[in-house]
Symmetry: C2
Subunit: 194 residues, 2 copies
DNA sequence: AGTAAAACTGACTGATTAGTCAGTAGTCTG
DNA sequence: CAGACTACTGACTAATCAGTCAGTTTTACT
């Protein structure tokens, strides 16, 4: 079972770094320290390996957020939103591979013809947007947030944060320098009252 | 010269749709209506074809924005920002290929080792962020916008809009439904005074 | 120890790839 | 017409790819 895991870890790294087509099964095998045929013993095809890699990323992201939200207390909805954004940016730096994979084009193309792929992507994005939405709803209740449509507000906040993450992982701009501005912008959108 | 253009147009379409590695020169040739060898007569390698495709996209985006800003008048800085956002979203729907190419991972990977690629990407992003920044600066002068750091404000606005564009071209969410929320969020960030 | 199943591998295949090259057709100039 | 030049092509090559398979090793259990 450990070799299967080694293969999966190598696959995530290579799919993230090179994309689906340019990551070869031979290279996945070499990086995982197994023979080429072993990869096909554990995964029936390259596409199947990719789907398992995506599923692993999905589970990883959801688990990480669950753990973070379990282990932290927040005084208000707006603080919760800020915490989620911080953790999202932290995670995107900590396990960059996951987010590179999520920002590559291939899974979204595959999702058009493969329901399993579509399901993984939907679960990831619904989980993330849900987390933001619950925080917005909480803030609306405790009075720290003003918002009309919680879902749409959550989507805009999420797309902003995800846009900054993209800049980070594609080496376009330094996220650190943008962090304060990002948080302030969110507070303005949510009309946070000091 | 027309065949060279046909090749380039096919290349942009295929690189955008399939990514660099999965778009084959044979397919580019077939779609362009020429023989495989003709592609290599006009472009010395696949990478060189990709760079020319990226340059074409760069020129296209810059020209489109120049034309838009030339042909429109705006009452205030905040109206200008709104116009730019609208046009950005319109363009992303109108020439989706350009933005698919810009959102793919390959050019950013290539940029790490290829100065021409880096230069094209920098010009695209600097142009776009500059456009937002000038609008923010104008709004600050005419009083329609409140912002501390024009550059960082422009970057956050841009990353938000670009994040929404990504959702659109990857078929994640409907941009139309998010448009009003996006504009309102921007107005809040920029503290627009009615 | 015996044995059956699971894990693994080297050697292979057919298909596809980027890129080459020798040669042909068309066009422009004197 | 001569000849030089550009545009173009079919046929090729060497490399790489995903995937297969027959056979070997390792593990699990009695």
């Amino acid at each position: 079972m450990t070799k299967k895991n080694d293969i999966l870890r190598s696959a995530i790294t290579l799919f993230a770094d090179r994309g689906f087509q340019d990551a070869s099964m031979t290279e996945v095998a070499r990086m995982g320290g197994v023979s080429g045929a072993t990869v096909f013993y554990h995964f029936k095809s390259k596409e199947s390996l990719f789907l398992t890699a995506l599923e692993t990323v999905k589970d990883g992201i959801i688990e990480e957020f669950d753990a973070y939200l379990d282990q932290h207390e927040f005084a208000s909805g707006i603080d919760l939103v800020e915490g989620i954004i911080s953790f999202y940016l932290y995670l995107a730096g900590s396990v960059e591979e996951w987010f590179l994979l999520l920002h590559s084009h291939y899974p979204y193309k595959l999702a058009l013809v493969n329901r399993e792929c579509r399901s993984h992507l939907e679960k990831i994005y619904n989980s993330l947007v849900d987390i933001f939405e619950r925080a917005v709803a909480q803030g609306r209740q405790d009075g720290s947030i003003l918002a009309d449509d919680t879902r749409k507000t959550a989507l805009v906040i999420f797309s902003m944060v995800d846009g900054v993450v993209r800049f980070k992982i594609y080496n376009l701009y330094d996220t650190g320098a943008l962090y304060r501005e990002l948080i302030n912008s969110c507070r303005k959108i949510l009309k946070y009252k000091t």
